[in-house]
Symmetry: C2
């Protein structure tokens, strides 16, 4: 390798050095980045990583950015927290949450991939960047590009949640609403990237972009004191994240930073858009595209770019995939908030509900060390909870009014449950 990393075709292996390209011109398969692990092995140790910044750039030597790249945006290094109260509710005993609902800077795991993509956009000399997005990616590209002073064009399905639209426009990005679903938007983005020579993070910069997801896996391992979990539960939209966490674990093993271990991977989708889960469940060797219909709009990709690789990763690992209804998605959001104080968006509701089902069906055993990946923040999809909570009447600011209010709640609770707990 001329550099410490380069593009290769995933299927035929053709090498491309480094350029803004995502499809092999020989066999039309997707390209991916290969990092020179032999070279990395000489310099990357647990100690060298610990001396890095407390963000995803502590793993810079394992990411496809130039050696002399100076990161501009702290991203990642989100908490891995034990989840004893959620575990108690769903029959788990050793459950952790990887909480990218508080990922910096824009509250989803997309901040990781965008950070790597924009580093490469700058390297390749693009002054205009863009993406097709179901929302979180839009937020992250708009925010990080603003800080870098890049011009931004972002394409989204016209029916996107209001909070995700505002959280893109506020950074000064050009937001273009497309009359269609994500798959339409994505196809158009490919044409635009070609026609205008812009850096589209999930089109011509996609191989670099996708590597950013490895940092979720690196962090999980480091935060578990450099060991791998038994199981990981991951939401699936395009299908890339689950494959990259697996790649991260394999790289850590190859580098000797963790002991070898066969981690099982479990994929989570909403039933209204479950092409990858379907393929896993039916054992199909291809992905049957679907027309998405779910409130989990950040996962609503009917024709997932990495679907086939996600299904393969799950199967090879001995894992499984599940999908849940929109009602279960809302319950999942509430359950995670009530037990662990983590407010996630619809995608996290999917992952939480799927995790519960995997325990219920015995796919995951209670004692196994399991990590569930929460990938976005609940403040972005508040519309799905509209009507879930009664807006009680305001009371006057007097102690007697408050006492009356409390007594009413108590009586109500006694009526309902026979108990006296007013909560």
């Amino acid at each position: 390798m001329a550099s410490s990393y380069e593009l290769c075709c995933r299927e035929c292996g053709k090498r491309y050095e480094n350029q803004p390209l995502s499809i092999c011109d020989e066999c039309f398969s997707p390209l991916e980045v290969r990092v020179d692990l032999d070279a990395a092995k000489k310099t990357v140790t647990r100690e060298s990583i610990a001396q890095g910044p407390t963000n995803m750039w502590r793993y810079q030597a394992l990411l496809p950015v130039p050696d002399d790249y100076v990161p501009q945006t702290p991203a990642g290094w989100t908490p891995l927290v034990k989840a004893p109260r959620l575990a108690g509710r769903i029959g788990a005993k050793n459950l952790y949450i990887k909480n990218d609902a508080v990922c910096m800077p824009t509250l989803s795991f997309k901040d990781r991939v965008v950070a790597v993509a924009l580093a490469n956009a700058q390297r390749f000399g693009f002054d205009t960047v863009g993406c097709s997005s179901t929302g979180n990616l839009a937020n992250s590209v708009a925010a990080q590009a603003a800080r870098l002073g890049l011009k931004t064009y972002i394409l989204v399905p016209a029916d996107l949640e209001a909070a995700k639209i505002l959280n893109t426009q506020v950074y000064g990005a050009n937001l273009i609403r497309i009359d269609g679903n994500y798959d339409h938007v994505n196809r158009l983005s490919s044409q635009i990237a070609d026609r205008f020579s812009w850096g589209f993070v999930n089109v011509n910069l996609r191989p670099y972009y996708a590597e950013g997801s490895k940092t979720v896996g690196f962090e999980i391992a480091e935060q578990l004191s450099w060991r791998l979990p038994d199981n990981v539960v991951v939401p699936m939209a395009g299908g890339s994240l689950i494959t990259k966490i697996r790649k991260a674990f394999k790289e850590l093993i190859a580098l000797g930073l963790v002991d070898a271990k066969d981690v099982r991977f479990f994929g989570a989708q909403a039933t209204g858009c479950s092409p990858i889960a379907r393929a896993v469940k039916t054992g199909a060797d291809h992905i049957e595209p679907q027309r998405p219909s779910t409130i989990a709009r950040s996962l609503a990709i009917g024709n997932p770019a990495d679907g086939i690789y996600a299904a393969k990763a799950i199967r090879e690992s001995g894992g499984w995939a599940e999908d849940v209804s929109d009602v279960e998605v809302v319950s999942g959001i509430q359950e995670l908030a009530e037990t662990e104080g983590i407010f996630t968006e619809t995608a996290g509701g999917v992952t939480t509900a799927v995790t519960a089902r995997l325990y219920a069906h015995g796919r995951i055993k209670p004692d196994e060390l399991t990590v569930t990946c929460i990938t976005g923040n609940g403040l972005k999809t508040t519309d799905v909870l509209a009507g879930a909570y009664e807006q009680s009447e305001a009371i006057r600011p007097r102690l007697t009014d408050f006492e009356n209010y409390i007594n009413e709640i108590k009586e109500l609770n006694e009526l309902v449950s026979g108990g006296v707990d007013v909560r």
Copy 2:
């Protein structure tokens, strides 16, 4: 001292050991926590702190929690980022943002104070906790109490932003809307805490709670490689935060962790609720309560509990206070987002606009190392941006439609500016 910290009266100095109490029974002045710095000096070093977790609990030895306390929620350790593009716009040269818009777990600096308050609620044996809140505190108490399995009663003004209400209810908290402003809510909370023997984080636990804000100051110093800035700009609601950042710097000097330096403190308020800024500007020795009327509802405290101490801290330090209109608040939000990719709530709009004015008026010199404290996330106050951005018509997913759209923008921009930059 019997413990490594204890309550003392701020005015008469009477000592109270440790108990849920906030007012001196001798002179009716507020109590505050004094940490035994002589004892801390023997164990706390830059190295011991660096070996702690990457959250605010790395400063546990300087916070009023029992020595054997095991933190349950990672909070704090937010980025301190250089802000070159914002600096360029407002005539600064050495400006940093302390970004608590991404504070864990609920996206405001209140996560810091709640973490310390709830540790003490548990220590004192409360099974029910609560607060009066303008929103951010409600979110944080609800989330952190959920994770600890505590019952929660939260009182808010009836007209609070929808996102802040939902982001409290989702955790299962009892939310009580009060027909009045924050000052009414706060008075009622004091009566409730007495009557029900509950742990109200900003009433009977207030001295402990307030100490959590010191971690903003500790982090700023550590992130500047253990030195103090020349100036700090801080939003003011109750007035506590600015005094505690100052206290943090003084403690670090006393511990020998940073060189002594006179840091100037600058306070930021919205004109529609500016009792502390007014006192600073007029040189008054007391705070004249105001009836709040501003979109910056998280700062809308007309009778600030620590107002007099905030004004004193500002004056003693040689700083100043400013207040800005609601229109400037919205511009401040947009300016920070467009230049640095940070989306803050109204309070952050206040702080950004005040910072700009302090440079414009020569109160802060361009070369001085200045830190502006952004304390909450823009997704919580999206309503103030309603109407700020045009919702353009959706276009069909075809390249020709996109090209037409781009040409229209270009023509529009040329008309408006005579330029060709389509952004």
